[in-house]
Amino acid sequence: MIINHPLLGPRDSQEFIYLGDANLIERPDWQAANAVETFHDYLYLRDNPAGEHRELWYHEQGDRSWLVVTRNTVTHEISKVELARDVARSKGRSK
């Protein structure tokens, strides 16, 4: 597959490491009363869509950016590639 890196352009997926669902960005609040439950759901519960999926890829043999790739799991078509750091910030993550 070819991933269109937002900074470097098209790069072969061979250069990347796959992690999984981009929801891993949304790490829960450790101080919440039900933190054990929310962390459990965060870590273990995944949608498994036949279709568009937002997922984390790491450009290990490249610029070491984590990317959020929107990929169709049926056709492998990639419709969007973003820097994970930007996505994290857009989700309100900061320090």
Binding site: L7, L8, G9, R11, D12, Q14, E15, E60, Q61, G62, D63, R64, S65, L83, R85
Partner: protein
């Protein structure tokens, strides 16, 4: 150069740099480069740009690019990250030199001996590269700098002159394997 008693060992283990010559291609081990990484501190982009321009005499390169000015050559390695290189003989203590120039605008780390560098020269270079890595070295413009995989190893491929002058930086501990891969690919292609 500090006046100490320890003799350096070149990455390929020889006393002098290794050089392999093929028709239209040479592969030369180049130990005479000091390297320091530069990583921008959070939110200090403008300050770093200013300090870097003063220190290096040139702006920091954009993604995928390399710039050279005087003793310094700089290439982009990741968002907000670069490698600064200079002659080893005059800049062995490169991380202190760079840190002194950039102050608290950047994190600076000595990288000199993390890398083995091979200079690849000659018109047949792309014929060798196409058996080593994904990069399209045949159409790579001068000043391109890319990280990619060669022989399963993370490497940087720098293009000094399109089609005929490149450098490959790879992990120093695997220098022998990386060198073998280059020579094998060169023999295969030429």
């Amino acid at each position: 150069m500090p006046d100490h008693s320890l003799a350096p060992l070149l990455p390929l283990g020889g006393a002098t740099p290794r050089r392999d010559t093929f028709a239209g291609l040479t592969i030369t081990e180049n130990p005479d480069v000091a390297i320091a990484s530069v990583a921008c501190r959070m939110g200090r982009d403008a300050d770093l740009a200013k300090a870097a321009a003063a220190l290096f005499g040139t702006a920091l390169p954009v993604p995928g690019q390399m710039v050279a000015k005087g003793d310094w050559a700089l290439f982009w390695t990741g968002p907000g990250q670069w490698m600064a290189t200079a002659p080893f003989a005059t800049h062995e203590d490169i991380s202190r030199i760079v840190k002194a120039g950039l102050g608290d605008t950047a994190s600076v780390t000595e990288q000199t001996d993390a890398w083995v560098r091979f200079d690849i020269d000659g018109a047949r270079a792309p014929d060798m590269f196409e058996r080593l890595c994904i990069l399209d070295t045949r159409r790579m413009a001068a000043g391109s700098a890319n990280r990619t995989m060669i022989e399963h190893l993370g490497t940087f491929v720098l293009c000094h002159r399109a089609g005929e002058a490149f450098s490959v930086l790879g992990p120093r501990s695997a220098a022998a394997s990386l060198h073998h891969a280059h020579v094998a690919a060169a023999k295969s292609a030429i």
